[in-house]
C-alpha cells in the first residue's frame, strides 16, 4: 500500500500534475487538497492514499508479491524467496568494512566472544581502511592503526589499506583514505550485495544498488565471526527526481532539499530509494553524495537502481561476479515524493541541523570565517573539479581561509593531475593556488568530525564555516559554538570568494 506525500513548497506548486505524481493514481483514488501557498513556504505535508497496485499472476499461476530493491537484496542474502517489511531475518554479509576508530573495538568484541584464537569468517570479505585519525600526533589514534595492523596480520586479512609513514602519505602505497570513497574506488561496491560498515555513512554505497548500512562495534564483532547479521527488513520510501539538473545544482543540493523536506527523522528505519531521469543523469560520485546523507534523514539505507553508469564504473574495478536487482513494478512503497529538479535552487543546511534548510541566496548576509571542502560527502574528485570550475569562472581570490582535504590518495592525485574542463588545461591544484586556497592536505576524514586537537582545519574557535561535509550538530567540527553551514562544493567555493554564504549562480551564470 503506497501513500503519496505531496509537499506544498513553491517549486512543487509550479510543476504540472504529472510531476506531482497524479499519473500514478487511478480515478477511484482520493485526492487531497493540494495547498499551494506562494507567499509563505508552508511546510505542511498532505498525505494521499494510493490504491493497492494490481498484482498480475505469475507464469506459474500463483500470485507473485512484488518486492522493492532492498527487499529483494535482503531476501536473496537471507536465502528466502520473499520478505516483507518488518521481518527479522538472518542475512549473509558480502563485505564488512571497518576503520581505525571502530576496528579495534569490533575486533576486541570478536575475540572476547569467539575466543582469542578465533578466525574471521572470511578474510577476503573484510576491508580495513584507516581513515579517521591518521595525520595526528595523538598516541592513542596512532596506536589504533597499529592495533588494526596486528589483527590484519593475524587474520590474514586481504584488504588492509595500511599507513606507517604519517609524515608523507604518498610514501604509503597501500594507504587510501576515506573509507566510503576508497570502497568504491577499490571495487568493493557491487550491485545486489550486502555491505556493512562500522560507520554511519556506509549508506553511501547504496549508490551502487546494494544494501549498505552502518553498524556498531558489537554487531561488527558478530559479523566478523559469523558473516551474518540479524536485520529487520525496512519499508521503502520512494524519491523520484525528474527534470534536467541545472548547471549550478549538485547532488548535495538535492539531498539537502530532501532532508529539509522530511526532517532528520523522516526516513528512520526506512529505505530511501532514488530514481527518475535526473538520477539517471548523475555520475557515480554524485550518486554517492546523494546516498551518503541518507543517514542524516534517519534512513537505514539508500538505493539507486544500477544502470549503464553503474556497471561501467563497477566493471572497471572488480572481477567479482555480481547480480543487480530492481524493484518490481508491483512493489509496495510506504511513501512517494516527486521533485522537478529543474525548479530547485542551491540550498544550505544552517546550524545546527542537517534539516535546517534554507536557500543559499537567502543567507547572503551571513558572514563566514572559513570554508572546508572535503569528506566522503564533498571531497571526491568531482567535488574538487566543481569547486575549481567555479573558482576559474570567477577569476578571483578567496576572502577567507579555504581548506581542501581530498578524500583519498587517488582524489589527491586527480586534483594535481586532471585538467579542469574549460580552463585551458589547468589542474584543480593550480586553480586552487591561484585562488589563494590552502594547499590540498593529506587525504583522510580530517576535520569533518573534529577529531584530535591537532587535526588540520579543525574548528577550534567559535567560527562560522561553510562546509561540504555531512553534519552540523553542535560541536561537530570541534568547537561547540562553531556554526556550520552544510553546502555543495559550488556553494562552498562561491562563499569562499565573497566571505559570505553565497549562491553559486553569482559566479556560474
Amino acid at each position: 500500500m503506497a501513500s503519496s506525500v505531496i509537499s506544498s513548497s513553491p517549486f512543487v506548486c509550479k510543476s504540472s500534475k504529472k510531476d506531482l505524481g497524479f499519473s500514478s493514481f487511478t480515478k477511484s483514488s482520493q485526492i487531497s487538497i493540494h495547498r499551494c501557498q506562494k507567499k509563505s513556504i508552508s511546510r505542511k505535508i498532505v498525505s494521499v492514499m494510493a490504491p493497492q497496485k494490481d498484482r498480475s499472476p505469475g507464469t506459474t499461476g500463483s500470485v507473485k508479491t512484488g518486492m522493492t530493491m532492498t527487499e529483494k537484496i535482503l531476501a536473496r542474502a537471507a536465502e528466502k524467496s520473499l520478505v516483507v517489511p518488518g521481518d527479522n531475518i538472518w542475512v549473509n554479509v558480502d563485505v564488512l568494512m571497518t576503520h581505525d576508530v571502530c576496528g579495534p573495538g569490533a575486533f576486541g568484541i570478536f575475540k572476547r566472544e569467539f575466543g582469542e584464537k578465533a578466525k574471521v569468517w572470511d578474510p577476503e570479505k573484510i576491508v580495513v581502511i584507516p581513515d579517521h585519525y591518521i595525520f595526528t600526533a595523538d598516541k592513542r589514534a596512532n596506536r589504533n592503526v597499529d592495533i588494526m595492523r596486528e589483527h590484519c596480520k593475524e587474520q590474514n586479512i586481504k584488504y588492509f589499506y595500511d599507513i606507517t609513514d604519517l609524515g608523507n602519505f604518498k610514501a604509503n602505497p597501500d594507504y587510501k583514505g576515506v573509507c566510503h570513497v576508497a570502497l568504491a574506488q577499490e571495487g568493493h561496491c557491487r550491485p545486489g550485495e550486502v555491505l556493512l560498515g562500522t560507520d554511519s555513512h556506509t549508506c553511501t554505497a547504496g549508490a551502487f544498488g546494494q544494501f549498505a548500512t552502518g553498524i556498531g562495534n558489537t554487531d561488527a564483532g558478530f559479523v566478523l565471526g559469523t558473516g551474518k547479521i540479524l536485520l529487520k527488513v525496512p519499508p521503502t520510501m520512494r524519491f523520484i527526481l525528474d527534470g534536467e539538473m541545472p548547471s549550478y545544482l549538485q547532488a548535495k543540493d538535492l539531498i539537502l532539499q530532501i532532508i529539509g523536506e522530511i526532517s532528520v527523522a523522516g526516513a528512520t528505519y526506512k529505505t530511501m530509494e532514488f530514481s527518475g531521469t535526473c538520477i539517471e543523469s548523475l555520475s557515480m560520485e554524485e550518486r554517492m553524495t546523494l546516498c551518503n546523507m541518507v543517514v542524516e534523514a534517519g534512513g537505514k539505507n539508500g538505493v539507486i537502481p544500477p544502470d549503464a553508469t553503474t556497471l561501467n564504473y563497477v566493471e572497471n574495478r572488480t572481477s567479482v561476479p555480481f547480480e543487480p536487482v530492481y524493484s518490481d513494478g508491483n512493489a509496495s512503497f510506504v511513501a512517494e515524493y516527486r521533485f522537478d529538479v529543474s525548479k530547485l535552487e542551491p540550498v544550505v543546511a544552517k546550524p545546527h541541523s542537517p534539516d535546517n534548510r534554507a536557500l543559499a541566496r537567502e543567507c547572503k548576509d551571513v558572514k563566514i570565517d572559513r570554508v572546508y571542502i572535503g569528506s566522503c560527502t564533498g571531497g571526491k574528485t568531482e567535488d574538487f573539479m566543481a569547486a575549481a570550475k567555479l573558482f576559474h569562472a570567477a577569476g578571483k581570490k578567496v576572502k577567507v581561509p579555504t581548506f581542501l582535504v581530498p578524500a583519498t590518495q587517488k582524489v589527491w592525485m586527480d586534483v594535481y593531475a586532471l585538467p579542469v574542463p574549460g580552463s585551458g588545461g589547468k589542474t584543480c591544484a593550480q586553480i586552487f593556488e591561484e585562488a589563494g586556497c590552502d594547499t590540498p592536505a593529506s587525504p583522510s576524514c580530517g576535520a569533518c568530525l573534529g577529531g584530535p586537537a591537532d587535526t588540520y582545519a579543525r574548528l577550534n574557535e567559535p567560527q562560522v564555516c561553510v562546509s561540504t561535509t555531512n553534519r552540523n550538530f553542535p560541536g561537530r567540527m570541534g568547537h561547540k559554538e562553531g556554526q556550520i553551514y552544510l553546502a555543495s562544493p559550488y556553494t562552498a567555493a562561491a562563499s569562499a570568494l565573497t566571505g559570505r554564504v553565497t549562491d553559486p549562480r553569482e559566479f556560474l551564470q
Binding site: R112, H132, G216, F222, V264, T268, G451, A453, G478
Partner: protein, 254 residues
C-alpha cells in the same frame, strides 16, 4: 543452523567440536559489567533490583522456563531535548578510546554527554568525576541520531546511567544499545522531556505489558511502550547471547 554456519566459516567447526566449560546456554558476560551481586553502588541511589539476585546484569540470560523478571531502575533524571546526536553524547575527539579496553571504557564514561552545549548548565558528569549521579536520561525525538559510534551508548552505560526514556530513537543508536546491553532504551508515549526536570527522582518499572515511568518529584506517571522486536535480544542479553540461544553460534568461547 550450526551445520549451515560450518559451511560459511570452516574455522567455526573447530569451536563447535571442542569442549567448552559452560552449559549450552551460557550467560552473557560483558567485561563492562559495572557491579556484581556483592557490590553496591556507593553514592548513588539503588539502581537496579532483581528478584533473581544471583545475576550481575539487568540483561542476564536465563533459560526459557524462567518467568519474566520485573526490572526496576530508580534514581535521578537528566533531561535533554530533541535530536541529541552522538557527537553531543561523545565528541569525536574521544573516539580514540577503545570501548573493549576496560581502562578506556571507564574514561569514556567520564566524558558522557560532554558535547552538550553550554546551555545545559547542569552537566551530566561533574568535571573531575568519572561517574554520573543520574541513572535515567529523559530525551525527546530522535535520540542518538548521527554517527553510528557504539561509544555513545557505551559511554552512557560506563558513566552509570541505566536507561533512556525518549520519545523516539535514531535506529543505529537504538540497535547499539540493544546489542551491547549498556543502556536500556525505552519509548515514551508523550513528551516526557517537557514534564520532567533534571534532578527529578524517578522510577522505571518494566513489566510484561505495561511498563511505566514514575516521576516522584512531580507525582506523575507515564506509560512506556513495549520494547518490540528488540525485546528478545535484550532479554537474551545482547546479540551474542540471543544468537547462542537461537543456535546460530556456538556457546561462549572457553
Amino acid at each position: 543452523m550450526a551445520a549451515s554456519l560450518q559451511s560459511v566459516n570452516p574455522t567455526l567447526s573447530r569451536n563447535l567440536s571442542s569442549p567448552n566449560n559452560s552449559s549450552s546456554f551460557a550467560p552473557f558476560r560483558s567485561p563492562f559489567l559495572r557491579f556484581n551481586s556483592t557490590t553496591v553502588a556507593s553514592d548513588f541511589k539503588p539502581l537496579v533490583s532483581f528478584r533473581n539476585a544471583s545475576s550481575s546484569s539487568p540483561f542476564v540470560t536465563r533459560s526459557a522456563a524462567e518467568p519474566q523478571e520485573r526490572k526496576t531502575f530508580h534514581g535521578l533524571c537528566y533531561v535533554v531535548g530533541d535530536n541529541i546526536d552522538t557527537d553531543q553524547i561523545i565528541p569525536a575527539e574521544f573516539l580514540t578510546l577503545v570501548p573493549s579496553n576496560p581502562d578506556e571504557y571507564e574514561k569514556l564514561g567520564s566524558h558522557a554527554l560532554v558535547g552538550l552545549p553550554a546551555a545545559y548548565k547542569e552537566r551530566f558528569v561533574q568535571p573531575g568525576e568519572m561517574k554520573t549521579k543520574y541513572s535515567i536520561i529523559i530525551g525527546g525525538e530522535n535520540f542518538g541520531c548521527g554517527s553510528s559510534r557504539e561509544h555513545a551508548p557505551v559511554c552512557l552505560g560506563a558513566a552509570g546511567a541505566k536507561a533512556v526514556v525518549a520519545q523516539s530513537y535514531a535506529r543505529i543508536f537504538f540497535r547499539n544499545s540493544v546489542a551491547t546491553g549498556e543502556i536500556y532504551p525505552l519509548d515514551s508515549e508523550v513528551r516526557v522531556c517537557d514534564e520532567c526536570k533534571t534532578g527529578d527522582v524517578a522510577t522505571i518499572e518494566l513489566r510484561e505489558g505495561d511498563s511505566i515511568l514514575i516521576n516522584h518529584t512531580t507525582g506523575k506517571e507515564y506509560k512506556l511502550k513495549a520494547i518490540g522486536d528488540a525485546g528478545p535480544v535484550i532479554d537474551a542479553g545482547g546479540i551474542f547471547a540471543y544468537a547462542r540461544k537461537a543456535g546460530m553460534i556456538p556457546s561462549a568461547a572457553p
